[in-house]
Symmetry: C2
Subunit: 227 residues, 2 copies
Amino acid sequence: MEDVKCNGCHLKCDSFKFLTKDELELIEANRSTVVFRKGEKIIRQGSIFKEMVSFNQGLAKIHIEGTGGKDLLLGIISSSEIIGGPGLFHDKRYSFSLTALTTSRICLIDSEIFMQVFKTNYLFAESFLREFSRRYNDFFQRFLSLTQKQMHGRMADALLFMADSVFNADSFDLPLSRQELGEFAGMSKESVCRILKEFKDEKLINTNGQKIDILKKDLLCRILEAI
Amino acid sequence: MEDVKCNGCHLKCDSFKFLTKDELELIEANRSTVVFRKGEKIIRQGSIFKEMVSFNQGLAKIHIEGTGGKDLLLGIISSSEIIGGPGLFHDKRYSFSLTALTTSRICLIDSEIFMQVFKTNYLFAESFLREFSRRYNDFFQRFLSLTQKQMHGRMADALLFMADSVFNADSFDLPLSRQELGEFAGMSKESVCRILKEFKDEKLINTNGQKIDILKKDLLCRILEAI
DNA sequence: ATAGAGTATTGATTTATATCAATTGGATTA
DNA sequence: TAATCCAATTGATATAAATCAATACTCTAT
């Protein structure tokens, strides 16, 4: 992988497009580009917040790790996004973990430098805060889903999220194991299997290993909405 | 209630102390002071984001309302705080509801004017973002508690939160009904009664109506930590 | 090919927790 | 003081979903 300059990088997040040449060069001088392989942890929940993650390419999961070793999958990053979480402004710790699901290319940007640019370029700051808040709002939606719905609804939610927010297609190769899908939909891996089978028997979806086809989206939406 | 000028108001949030006289006067000219009584809704989830809430006095709950009428209590506001949620930067809708638990005094500030000040005074912006992110982080903690622990742990969590984060005392008059305490701890009101009784029988706490005394905090903490 | 390891599937059982039902208690009003 | 109403409590029952257990499948490495 050749090292592309930030200025010419077409993978960078939209917010960076508000930066001046000088600002971009400052970022450039204080970033490192790293490739993470499947399963490698990019951000570790609880550790000191030193860098902002500029996610460029690949697929990663945002998750929180409970004390009992139970994991909860909060979101999937599939396109360019600047990721840091509330610790940036709050306690300088990461509130969640970020783990690569497929080989992923990211840039790590020193958070002090990031804040320096944030402070001086309002257009950039506003764009970043929009992104930041969209993610915040997404967490709220997950919160609602996980606490208010029961298994069938949560599974419908998870599948529709994959189709609409990650792949923009009704057929896709799920980048998650059954275990991880369970962590996303808030249920055990066994329950995942049972519900997928039910959906398959009712011809709402088709499954073949990791391959999933959504056949009756309207019905799936109705399951999602039914409390 | 006489109308105090913002400049002389000793109830205002810390962030406002970073404003210049002119900025404070701008806010002053675009705010209304309102008193809400117990049960009155200050912010309605899903409605258009027009105003920031500067909470000054009283007690209120932040909650999300599920489609099935089920409510989930996410936090309690007991001291000055600027409240708006991610909609300020994102979709101009409130992500949660805010309802007074006791008579509460708040100021409503036009969100455009708020953003105008936010944009021009970086110290203010930074202070606000710190507050904003602390709340964000608190939601994460609740998320963790609600999804990773079971009833006893969640109840211990709820009681310790009241003692440490709301009242700063181990004895307090709970401002929530059993129903609401259930919405906070993620369980039915009947389960609330049963667990409070258990805790009482084990002499961890004492209860008498809304009055709650925490007797063995260390043991309660241990229940909280046990997965 | 074959062994081995991990993942997925399916069924049986258990458990946590909600719901339903009945009773009590406390506050408010007539 | 009685009547009314709503919240709280307690017990009995139902149910959603986890866990346990056994088997099947898939992939990798030898």
